[in-house]
């Protein structure tokens, strides 16, 4: 099953410069898909989640156009061909 992750610019140091990372994994949820991503690029994990395993407050993860905070968090389901986009929240100052 193919899943595409889209990586924001500031985190591409952790992916060897890649803006898109494609994984092929039997992942039913966002959490399972992220676990596969972190195996390949371990530097992403601490930048996305806290020590408690929660998505950092100002990190947004979308499946398609839907923020996982609105559809089950790490339990949000993914299907073959899913696009998961990681973005820092909008911020000013």
């Amino acid at each position: 099953m193919a899943i595409a992750f889209y990586i924001p610019g500031l985190l591409r140091l952790q992916t060897g410069g890649r803006s898109q990372v494609d994984i092929d994994a039997a992942a039913a949820t966002v959490g399972e898909a992220l676990a596969v991503l972190w195996l390949e690029y371990p530097g992403l994990r601490d930048r996305l989640v806290t020590e408690q395993g929660e998505v950092r407050q100002h990190v947004n993860i979308f499946v398609g156009a839907e923020n996982i905070r609105d559809c089950g968090g790490f339990s949000a389901t993914v299907s073959d061909g899913a696009a998961i986009t990681i973005l820092p929240a909008v911020s000013g100052g």
Binding site: L11, P42, E51, V59, S91
Partner: protein
């Protein structure tokens, strides 16, 4: 300001590590400290609350913490004066999952008196230590398990462990300061911690002299006299001559007893520097920029203003925003929330503006190479 990619340490005697709300800057100068080269920003856009220099074992290693608003807090080091910085894959300083805590900021990086020993003070208030010169870190469980911890309250800047004082004469002794909690001391290398607030006031509590809960802003010690400590409180200046067992007030002629930094003279254990702030506005009183210096361990304080603007200068210096170099005569430096770096090459007698236009300055550390 002409910011270069890096400074050249071969031509440098003095180095200033300047952390800001939007990155770090390195300023280097010859021993005359007449002209300063500037490099930066390092970690642009990230909050750099703490920096430190480790010159032990012939190292020339600079440490910096960086906090990105979205992606969290990391600890970095450079061996080449900022040309390259480490970018660790996993966060070097982080709470064990079972603590239920998540790191917000690293407020202080300290080099220990033992070989390879280092410390980080963090928010939420806790202490981390390294025994391998910063390669790996672990939570100091003895302080984390202290029964007072659940009653510590955040100050305006958060619930932070912001001050770490190593004792050059006793590797097992360490002082830390927490806002709000106060001063704690270990005499057994961090296994057990005793509160050391007797005589320090807490004006914002019904009990003005509680066992703990004080909002200590900064504590400083001179390495040649480690049992003596100077303390800038959230209201009040204090000195201890018995390693914190007792404190007495030393507000003797200071324009305001409120402030954040407390910096020691490098060669004289009786000389210290503070930057008083007007209590409500938390800026230099009356718009007059003045550092105060004591030469008699707090028996009296003298305002130092030669070279400073004396009108419409409403500046704030944060708790780690002032430091001294160890050259002769000593250089004294501070950075303001308005992004100015001031310095004195004559122990505070005269001052000049070294650099303006930086983001809000969080820390200034002076290093002699």
């Amino acid at each position: 300001m002409e910011a270069k990619t890096f400074v050249n340490p071969k031509n440098s005697a003095a180095l200033l590590l300047v952390g800001t709300m939007k990155g770090a800057f390195l300023l280097s100068s010859e021993a005359s400290r007449e002209r300063w080269d500037v490099s930066g920003p390092h970690f642009p856009g990230r909050v750099v609350y703490s920096m430190a220099y480790d010159g032990r074992d012939r190292r020339q290693r600079i440490w910096a913490s960086s906090t990105h608003f979205a992606f969290g807090t990391l600890l970095h080091s450079t061996e080449d004066f900022g040309r390259t910085w480490t970018n660790p894959e996993s966060a070097p300083v982080k709470f064990p999952e079972e603590t239920g805590q998540s790191l917000r900021q690293i407020w202080q990086i300290a080099v220990g008196s033992e070989q390879g020993k280092m410390y980080c003070g963090v928010e939420p208030a806790a202490l981390f230590e390294s025994n391998d010169a910063g390669q790996s870190w672990s939570l100091v469980q003895g302080l984390f398990d202290h029964p007072h911890r659940s009653q510590w309250q955040p100050g305006g800047g958060g619930l932070c462990l912001h001050t770490i004082l190593v004792d050059p004469s006793n590797a097992k002794r360490l002082h830390v300061a927490i806002s709000t909690g106060g001063v704690y001391r270990t005499d057994d290398g961090g296994k057990s911690w005793q509160v050391r607030n007797q005589g320090i006031s807490a004006e914002f509590l019904p009990d003005k002299y509680p066992e703990f809960g004080q909002c200590v802003h900064k504590v400083a010690r001179h390495p040649s006299r480690p049992e003596r400590l100077f303390l800038q409180n959230h209201g009040g200046l204090f000195r201890s001559d018995d390693a914190g067992d007792s404190w007495h007030e030393i507000v003797n002629g200071v324009s305001s007893d409120f402030g954040f930094p407390m910096a020691m003279h490098p060669h004289d254990p009786d000389t210290a520097y503070i930057f008083p702030l007007e209590r409500e506005m938390r800026c230099s009183p009356d718009g007059r920029l003045r550092v105060y210096r004591t030469r008699d361990a707090g028996g009296s304080w003298q305002p130092l203003s030669t070279g400073f603007p004396q009108e419409a200068s409403y500046e704030t210096v944060l708790r780690d925003g002032m430091d001294a170099d160890s050259l002769q005569p000593a250089g004294i430096y501070f950075g303001t929330r308005s992004g100015k770096v001031y310095g004195s090459r004559d122990e505070g007698e005269t001052w000049r503006l070294i650099l303006a236009g930086l983001p809000a300055i969080t820390c200034v550390k002076a290093v002699v190479l």
